[in-house]
Amino acid sequence: MRNCLELDSVEFSYEKRGAALHAVSLQLAEGEFRCLIGRSGCGKTTLLKLAAGLLKPQRGQVLFQGTAVARPRPEMGFVFQSPTLLPWLHVLDNVLLPLCLHGEVTPTDRDHARRLLRQMGLQGLDEQSPTALSGGQQSRVAIARALVTNPGLLLMDEPFAALDAITRAELQQDLLSLCQSQSTSVLFVTHDIDEAVYLADQVQVLEHGRIVHQMNVNLPRQRQAALRDTPAFNAHRAELRQAMEAGR
């Protein structure tokens, strides 16, 4: 399978905080769901921003579909830690923002945005202000906004970290079905071991700016909530926990 995203010996240091990533290499296949897991400050968000073209590596290179990434590209979607919705726009206009910054929004675009909102369980909320929505609903709008351009690659930075366990599980399920239906590749950053095992085809553990462990998730592709209580799921979870503790 062709690589959608490739990081080749990427290094990055912040002026004040020092080195954040040391020669990190990563290949993400098309349609793959990859999770990056690690403790706070291990370089996860930096890696995601490098992949997005929001930061430039000081060494190594980032390739998207074989081309060097110098700046953010239209084929990429990004979901931040907080929903970052614009409170002065309605829900539908928030979803359409990536399109309306680059030309007229057509009726087809509107239909597409409404369909995404419906798929995210937000039907009937098009004209609502984002401030009237719950935290979970706001996260759903942010995901719909990232998917409205049909990106080939979705980069997600702990988007569900602030949500309660039930809402998080619902959103994980909806995200999986949406990405599978659109064949979107996903690079998902989290510090939650359960979330990583449930969502990913492959999980990589990042520690002090280095990838210290890699694990293929050998679970059925169609994930169901009951999967979380199976011995296979627990075995994956235990392996990840051990890898994270060993990397301390």
């Binding site: 929001l54 953010p72 907080s82 929903p83 970052t84 409170p87 923002l97 990536p98 910054l101 401030t131």
Partner: protein, 250 residues
């Protein structure tokens, strides 16, 4: 809330009643401190005879022109300084110097430069209104949520789009708070400038009333300025509420 408003009105009325009673009790001369009833009578006479109206109209014109000029330039300057930290570092000391110089001391200079009449008053008003808009706009723009800025970078928005569709919109509460302050200060600027170099306007009328020892008229004009200032503040508040109606931050 409603009860607090009634209480506030009651406090005002009680103070007026105490003032009226004090003046009557101690037979204070109207030259020193006229009773509220005397001030009200003077105000009514001035309004009914039409004597106050041309002066009030002149001051209103100066306030509006000075406010538009000062707030407009302050907003534009705030955008520039908010966009560029280098320009902010270079120009902010001079902006602060222009504001710490006592405005009253500048008024005679303005008369030399701009002559008598409306122009020096408008310039003085504009100078006073300039700073709150500049400072609030520049500060609010630098406080825009960095994740939203990154979102706009990720969406490949142009600098112009980021400025108008994100920074200015997100800074609106701060900008409008600066405008509210400028509206109040505009009256101070116009009246102070009229003290020095105007033959018409409410400030000039206070000086004329002082010259003729007509203290009730001075109080009547002060009351009128206060009422006009309150009305313009209320208008600014309504504009703010209208513009921010859909913009409650998370």
């Amino acid at each position: 809330m409603r009860r607090d408003r009634w209480l506030s009105a009651f406090i005002g009325l009680a103070l007026m009643a105490a003032w009226e009673a004090g003046v009557r009790l101690w037979h204070t001369s109207a030259l020193v401190l006229p009773a509220p009833s005397v001030v009200a009578q003077s105000l009514w006479q001035g309004l009914a005879s039409g004597y106050l109206l041309p002066h009030a109209w002149r001051t209103i014109q100066e306030v509006v022109l000075g406010l538009l000029l000062g707030a407009g330039l302050g907003f534009a300057g705030g955008l520039v300084l908010g966009e560029s930290s280098r320009l902010r570092a270079m120009f902010m000391p001079y902006v602060v110097i222009s504001q710490v110089v006592p405005k009253l001391a500048l008024a005679p200079l303005f008369i030399v430069w701009f002559g008598f009449g409306t122009l020096p008053t408008v310039v003085m008003t504009a100078l006073i209104c300039f700073f709150p808009l500049l400072e609030n706009t520049a500060t609010a723009m630098q406080q825009v949520d960095h994740q939203r800025l990154e979102l706009f970078r990720m969406l490949r928005a142009s600098r112009w789009q980021t400025l108008w569709r994100l920074k200015v919109r997100a800074s609106l509460p701060g900008i409008l708070a600066g405008f509210r302050v400028a509206v109040v200060l505009a009256w101070v600027g116009a009246v102070v400038a009229e003290f020095i170099g105007a033959s018409q306007g409410l400030g000039a009328l206070i000086i004329a009333a002082q010259g003729s020892m007509d203290t009730p008229l001075m109080f009547a004009v002060l009351t009128l300025i206060t009422l006009l200032g309150l009305a313009s503040y209320k208008l600014a508040n309504m504009l703010e509420q209208r513009l921010l109606r859909s913009q409650q931050d998370f």
